[in-house]
Amino acid sequence: MRSKAIASRIIRQFIRDKRTLALMLIAPLFILTLVSLVFNGKDYHPTIAFVHVPKKIIQTLDTKDTHIKTMEQKRAQTAIHNGDIDAIVSNDQGTLKVLLEGSDPSTNQAILQWLQKQQLKGQPGKNLSVHYLHGGKDLNSFDNFGSVLLGFFVFFFVFIVSGVSFLRERTTGTLERLLSTPIRRGEIVCGYIFGFGLFTLIQSTLVTWYSINVLNMWMVGSFWLVLLIIVLLALTALTLGTLLSAFANNELQMIQFIPLVIVPQVFFSGLFKIDTISDWISWIAPFMPLYYGADALRNIMLRGNGFADITLDILALCGFILLFVVLNILVLRRYRKL
């Protein structure tokens, strides 16, 4: 019952503090929109130059989303170096040779997919050999970018808001005041989880819905599973935030945890391939909540996997939450042993 009092108090405070509410609800949407505008060159129509390719092949090509030009070899070479065209397709003794400009992974992919589709339309015996002017096919694709960012931003904002508000509870003396009442330490932690839980639930639903329906983030799995993972990530961030706030003396010191605790998680969340990270540091990945959250989100959203495939991730996140809750209760002993 005392937890309920704390929870409803937090909810009231939240409703009064419109700016913080906006930070939690609007900021993730804003940033995700920016990122999607920056990285989602979906409407970009690549330009492809064809050199020495028979006319009857060119006529069969689908030109809806692609500009096609026929050029002399020399002019095409200059054009691709200048960035005027994105690829050259040339006929090299019965093999179609593709030279990609290569610096933008999403363009590369778009062109290759387009070419494959054209092949299906019936040019038998034509093999594709793909070459890159810059970069190569090993360049990271941003396809799995969005799902990870979705989890990250929720994690980030919940961490900041919960950490700072628990810190303020301590610096304004209200924590000490709370501890002079017959409340149990566990009831304080639970109160925080329920009070913040409501807002993280709203936040998670809004951000997930917006990402999928407005930003058209790649999504083949279940909305509810995505929501579950986001909420678990938010609760992990909440309990971690309140825990670490015990080790900060003011808001600035709370902000200082961002480069120490939040940023490293980005590196191990799958934005960068973990296989390519040096062995002496990659062992750290399994200790990071975002590693599991991001893995689960990619599995659901990109691969359409179900509950069975992400059970381990869910268990890991629940484990983190439980661990942080217990540590929170223990750390509160610093202020009252009872």
Partner: protein, 244 residues
């Protein structure tokens, strides 16, 4: 009602690391009274009252409240504590603040509303109960803190410098109120360094460097030290902040 000591402190000491904050204090309160703790800042008054309130643990010795040893969660329901700083939620209204704490003490429904209203009325804040705390003056916050400390009808009221920043008229009212509460059977421990307040306590404890140097009625202290005023008595015990 069985008669038992309200508060009994047996050789209570408190240290942080190697630093001794409270040193070997023995004190007992047998029936409801107003006990003042007088001493310069840094004397250990706040640490002492926090131990009585159950927020801090004693390093040595023991504190018993109403016959039971502190700290105990159950006993904390019997204590009203008002900290030196106003521990209020600035975004909330006075009413929301007092309701919140009342709920933590287990009050519900009509009882809660009634007691909150009575406590707010006592400190003259009933008309301001729907104002946001951030718009409150320092004195209003102090009064609300006092109301919150009273709201659950505790048997022991611990007030850490309750009248700082409160104007003399209101201070007078609050002290009259404290005496009324005492007459209702509530034991009040109040820390202060305001001399005219000290005069209004039933008994005064002089504290310096964590030690209880003297404990008597204001009159008794004056006689013992052959002083005219409490201030002189206070200085006699080396209580002046610049005495050394």
């Amino acid at each position: 009602m069985t008669h038992q000591n309200v508060i009994r402190m047996n050789h209570v000491s408190k240290s942080y690391g190697k630093k001794r904050i409270v040193e070997d204090i023995c004190l007992s309160i047998e029936r409801p009274e107003i006990l003042g703790l007088l001493g310069p800042s840094g004397a250990g008054k706040t640490t002492l009252v926090k131990m009585i309130a159950g927020i801090e643990e004693v390093t040595d010795g023991e504190i018993c409240l109403l016959g039971e040893r502190m700290p105990r969660l159950k006993l904390m329901e019997q204590i009203g504590y008002m900290a030196q700083s106003d521990a209020l939620y600035g975004e909330l209204t006075a009413k929301e603040n007092i309701y919140f704490f009342a709920k933590l003490y287990g009050l519900r429904g009509k009882t809660m509303k009634g007691q909150c209203e009575k406590a707010l009325e006592l400190v003259g804040l009933l008309d301001d109960q729907n104002k946001i705390i951030d718009t409150f003056s320092g004195g209003m916050k102090r009064r609300l803190s006092l109301a919150i400390a009273l709201v659950h009808h505790p048997r022991i009221l611990i007030l850490d410098e309750p009248t700082v920043g409160i104007d003399p008229v209101l201070r007078n009212q609050i002290w009259e109120q404290l005496h009324e509460l005492k007459n209702e059977g509530i034991t009040i421990i109040v820390t202060t360094h305001v001399m005219d307040e000290a005069e209004r306590c039933d008994r005064l404890g002089m504290i310096r460097n964590g030690r209880l140097l003297a404990l008597d009625t204001p009159e008794g202290l004056k006689q013992d030290t052959r002083s005219q005023t409490i201030e002189e008595a206070f200085l006699f015990y080396g209580g002046g902040a610049h005495a050394q």
